[in-house]
């Protein structure tokens, strides 16, 4: 029987409002609004960065100033006023702590509300957690266990200090500062994020997990994640995000770079439920994220994402299949409700021979929302026998929402095989009545149908996440059918 079924979930859902929409009252060390060279330098200084890092940021800032915000995505929103944002906000609590006893109790309460009591996680789920609240990484658990295997898992700000050679070697190699507007901005002002290195031949014994959370009002969050899996290693990485409910829009522009060296494998899972805005479309997070992975020979990268939050999402986790026989996968569920807009998908760039990619995208739209899949499959001239399979399914609820599919296929090698399938369906009155007749109420029925629709992707998530993801699907679609 399917373990991920929704039975316990309903019970836990007491409110229909955004569950994580609370605000932690912790003193924050926050910069005045605005962005210029001084601010970039100040951020760098605040973090005690070496000079090469400061210069790297400044270079990115220079590039960013010359760039324009992209407008090709199928989303409409009021552009963030980049000079009205504060680019640094840290809970006042400078030291990295050794034990939870030293953590601000308010903060611990926040963790509890997030449902990630660290104690619990330590004991029960064998998950190492690196928590980024606003911009500073507050607590890292499990360091010791990881140390023994030579695994490095720490805030990137620390990695810059402690492992500059690794950071310097890989930072910006997959997502260059010049890549796009938001990536450039992130490179200039990123405040923290996670760094992870798995040594040669090591299988990481636990899921590594980061929780991001935007807390302060009027701040942007720009995390930077760098995951390096050295030859023949394996790691599964989980990323979850929440943000408190606010009237104004909050900006989130992260960059994630994955590097899978020869024969390595990285599994990267995200459950994103940033505040989506209220029923009228007010507030919510702007989520403009650049995620990309590089595969060397025989390497594999899988992206799995469940996107239920944010007012505007712009996100394309991608794979560059550089090495021969490398494999890229993208499994995605994107839910939009009310006035949410999502433009999400992937890019699979096949460069090496016998490279393979799979894309499974499930879009669910309700309310007045717009949900777009945008995917590029590119087969280079050298990519003999490259293969891609793409499947994009859309599920519509009601008549006011939209689902769109924009597949781009560029094939430069004749031996390539590229397959694309797309379907659009609607939750029918007949399906709902059928469920109702069996004693299943409409909300539960929708959850059941949506879970069925999303199953192929849900099954790709690690167990703990799958349960949470199902719960989120249910929350985000509550009240979506009158």
């Amino acid at each position: 029987m399917n373990k991920f079924t929704e039975d316990d979930l309903k019970k836990e859902l007491e409110t229909k409002e955004y569950e994580y929409g609370f605000y932690t009252d912790i003193e924050a060390d926050k910069f005045p609004v605005g962005l210029n060279e001084e601010v970039v330098i100040a951020i760098s200084k605040k973090k005690n960065e070496p000079e090469w890092m400061t210069l790297w940021r400044l270079e990115a800032f220079k590039v960013w100033k010359e760039m324009k915000e992209p407008e090709w995505a199928n989303v409409r929103y009021e552009k963030p006023k980049f000079q009205d944002i504060s680019y640094y906000s840290a809970p006042v609590q400078k030291k990295q702590l050794d034990s939870l006893d030293q953590v601000d109790p308010e903060l611990l309460k926040t963790f509890a509300k997030l449902g990630i009591s660290i104690d619990e996680q330590k004991r029960l789920s064998n998950v190492a957690v690196d928590i980024v609240i606003d911009s500073v990484s507050v607590a890292t658990t499990f360091k010791k266990t990881l140390n023994e295997k030579g695994i490095i898992f720490m805030p990137i700000s620390e990695a810059i200090q402690e492992h500059p050679e690794l950071v310097k070697k890989y930072l910006g190699t997959v997502v260059p500062t010049t890549d796009n507007f938001y990536a450039a901005l992130n490179s200039a002002v990123f405040s923290d994020g996670s760094f992870c290195y798995i040594p040669k031949g090591v299988t990481c014994p636990m899921e590594l997990s980061t929780y991001f959370r935007i807390n302060e009002g009027g701040t942007g969050q720009f995390e930077r994640t760098l995951v390096i899996a050295d030859e023949g290693s394996f790691v599964s990485y989980l990323e979850g995000c929440t943000a408190p409910a606010r009237d104004e829009n909050q900006l989130h522009a992260a960059v994630v770079e994955l590097i899978a060296l020869d024969d390595a494998e990285i599994k990267y899972s995200t459950v994103q439920n940033w505040f989506p805005g209220d029923k009228e479309g007010k507030g919510g997070v702007y989520n403009f994220v650049t995620k990309r992975g590089l595969c060397e020979k025989n390497a594999k990268i899988s992206w799995t994402q469940v996107e239920t939050g944010s007012a505007v999402t712009w996100k394309y986790p991608s794979c560059i299949l550089k090495g021969d026989n490398s494999v890229g996968e993208f499994y995605s569920i994107a839910v939009t409700n009310n006035f949410q807009q999502a433009d999400t998908g992937t890019k699979m760039i096949h460069l090496g021979k016998n490279t393979k990619s799979t894309i499974i995208s499930k879009g669910i739209s309700a309310g007045h929302s717009q949900n777009s899949y945008r995917g590029l499959v590119q087969i280079g001239t050298r990519a003999k026998n490259a293969r891609n399979f793409s499947q994009c399914d859309s599920l519509l609820m009601g008549d006011l929402c939209g689902a769109h599919t924009f597949p781009y296929i560029e094939v430069k090698n004749k031996s390539a095989q590229v397959e694309h399938e797309a379907t659009t369906s609607k939750i029918g009155e007949d399906q709902l009545f059928y469920c109702n007749q069996r004693g299943i109420n409409t909300e539960k029925a929708i959850a059941l149908i949506v879970n069925g629709f999303s199953k192929e992707v849900l099954n790709k998530l690690p167990m703990e996440f799958a349960v949470e993801a199902q719960k989120l699907l249910e929350i985000s679609l509550e009240g979506s059918v009158g």
Binding site: S425, Q431, G439, G452
Partner: protein, 245 residues
């Protein structure tokens, strides 16, 4: 058990049921026959509470309670079960998961705990065996790609699981081959007791050889125009409906 009194129902302002009276006691089997479009499926849907239909007059009373204000799922919780003439597909939701959800939702409505997985599994096995359903079948997506007969068999499997008070079988026999018909009819008979009742909607006398009705009603143009014992079905088989016009 069930009392339908002067029931009028319409859809899109078109009256389909034009004054139906029906009384069914616990332990009885009633067959409803009648030409295509006479309103048989409409009657079942209205009893089950489908909201597209507007009940313009009359009432439906189940065990003394007027169903008028009850949502379809609430009626289901009270023991109403409809075996659909055209069962609906739900992709990605397995037969097992669906029935498990249905059972637990009904239990929840009655203030009961969820059925432990172990007991659920046992129940599923038992009922699947009763209806000679292959285990592999249980992990398939509900009704997706099922043959006509498989769909109907699965409806009765759900009925067996839910043990309703009032089961309405809307043309459950159509699509079943002769052997399957026997299996399904046998299943229905095993589920019959003095505490529940069955309405069998069918076009063919054959099913009634296996599920023997206490009463047969003829629905014609939204009204019950004739009622009788099981021999009425034979008469209809021989003469058709014309003589009743």
């Amino acid at each position: 058990m069930l009392e339908v009194k002067n029931l009028h129902a319409s859809i899109n302002n078109k009256e389909i049921l034009k004054g139906i009276n029906l009384e069914i006691k616990a332990g009885e089997v009633h067959a409803i026959m009648g030409p295509n479009g006479s309103g048989k499926s409409t009657l079942s849907a209205v009893i089950a509470g489908k909201e597209d239909y507007e009940v313009t007059a009359g009432s439906i009373i189940l065990n003394g309670e007027d169903l008028e204000d009850l949502a379809p799922e609430e009626r289901a919780h009270k023991g109403v079960f409809l075996s659909f003439q055209y069962p609906v597909e739900i992709p990605g939701v397995t037969v097992t998961n669906f029935i498990k959800t249905a059972i637990n939702e009904s239990r929840k409505a009655k203030g009961l705990e969820e059925l432990p997985a172990k007991d659920m599994l046992k129940l599923i096995r038992e009922k699947a065996d009763l209806l000679e359903i292959d285990r592999k079948f249980l992990s398939r997506s509900l009704n997706e790609g099922f043959s006509g007969g498989e769909k109907k068999r699965n409806e009765i499997f759900q009925m067996a699981m839910l043990e309703p008070k009032l089961a309405i079988l809307d043309e459950t026999d159509s699509g079943l081959d002769i052997d399957a018909l026997k299996v399904v009819a046998n299943g229905v008979n095993k589920l019959k007791s003095k505490d529940n009742a069955v309405i069998v909607i069918t076009h063919y006398q054959r099913l009634l050889d296996y599920i023997v009705p206490d009463f047969v009603h003829v629905l014609y143009n939204g009204k019950i125009v004739k009622s009788g014992g099981k021999e009425l079905a034979l008469e209809l088989e021989a003469k058709g409906y014309d003589w009743l016009k």
